[in-house]
């Protein structure tokens, strides 16, 4: 929309406006699952509760996801400067960190299931798995998008003068990150302080 962008009523690109609109609605999506989790945080039906969380482990994977936001924004920064080579490097780093986070989540789920917290154990279990699972699904889609961007930047479908494409995927990625910022605190750290005492 290079020519078009300056002719829109708000002077903003359609796609960026659309992305922000979408992200606005995503708060309502995660909010509902988070509220459900809060409602059920102690409803364990005799099964495992929040004591099952491994805070040091989750802290590390949370940190990795947080730092992936840095590499993401650096990728965008490189793209704005037309430097596709550095952009690709940072994109790969971001996708890699996302994959580490996702791997951590899969590992964590496996451990929990082995310790007796299956999907249908209790409302606590279901709401935990669905909330963090949907977040994981968002991360997964993000990784797909990043890899797509990487590939297209090699084939020439994404050009050095099109940083908007990186920016859009970045917006989505950062959003997924801030959702985790909230989840990490509200799902893991705060119950660890309050429910266990």
């Amino acid at each position: 929309m290079a020519a078009g962008a300056h002719e829109t009523s708000l002077g903003i690109d359609h796609r960026k406006l659309g992305m922000w609109t979408f992200l606005g609605s995503e708060f309502l999506f995660f909010g509902a699952f988070l509220a459900t989790f809060l409602l059920y945080v102690q409803t364990t039906a005799g099964g495992p509760g929040v004591e099952i969380f491994d805070i040091p482990f989750t802290s590390i994977s949370s940190f990795v996801l947080l730092m992936s936001s840095l590499t993401m924004v650096l990728a965008h920064n490189a793209h704005t400067q037309g430097d596709l080579r550095r952009m690709r490097m940072w994109i790969l780093a971001t996708a890699g960190q996302g994959a580490v986070f996702l791997g951590g989540q899969v590992f964590e789920f496996n451990v929990f299931v082995r310790e007796g917290l299956t999907f249908g154990t209790s409302p606590f279990a279901t709401s935990f798995y669905v909330l963090t699972g949907f977040h994981g699904a968002h991360v997964f889609i993000g990784i797909l998008l990043l890899l797509t961007l990487y590939t297209f930047s090699l084939t020439g479908k994404v050009k050095p003068n099109q940083p908007l494409k990186t920016e859009m995927i970045g917006l989505y990625w950062h959003f997924v990150d801030i959702v985790w910022v909230v989840l990490f605190t509200v799902v893991y750290l705060i119950p660890e302080l309050t429910v266990l005492d």
Binding site: I12, L17, G24, S69, L70, V73, L171, V182, L189
Partner: protein, 108 residues
């Protein structure tokens, strides 16, 4: 209403942070995360939860403001995002309050 009719200038060409700024923000984020995790290892008493919430909000604002450029972008985006956020906070708080505080089970 007409305030949202921002012409193009503000949108794209504001102050743009550099790679160095981003790294600095990331360092701050790392320190804040370390502080958060410390609540697991050390006893903060009644301060623990408020501290975690404040830290969470700061981290949120840093990522949104800098990495997502909300500080430098048009206000329309901020409005869209904060409207969604505010709706989520208010509606789900009321729902939880109704479920926790004012149903029959809570009354007995």
């Amino acid at each position: 209403m007409s305030a949202t009719e921002t012409p193009q200038q503000e949108a794209e060409h504001g102050h743009h942070p550099t790679a160095r700024d981003y790294v600095n923000i990331a360092v701050i984020l790392g320190i804040l995360t370390a502080l958060e995790v410390s609540t697991y290892f050390f006893e903060f008493g009644p301060l623990g939860v408020p501290m975690l919430i404040v830290l969470m909000v700061i981290k949120f604002l840093l990522v949104v403001g800098w990495f997502m450029h909300l500080r430098f972008d048009t206000k329309v985006f901020s409005r869209l995002m904060y409207t969604g956020l505010a709706f989520a906070l208010v509606l789900y708080s009321i729902t939880l309050a109704a479920l926790y505080l004012d149903n029959f089970s809570a009354m007995t």
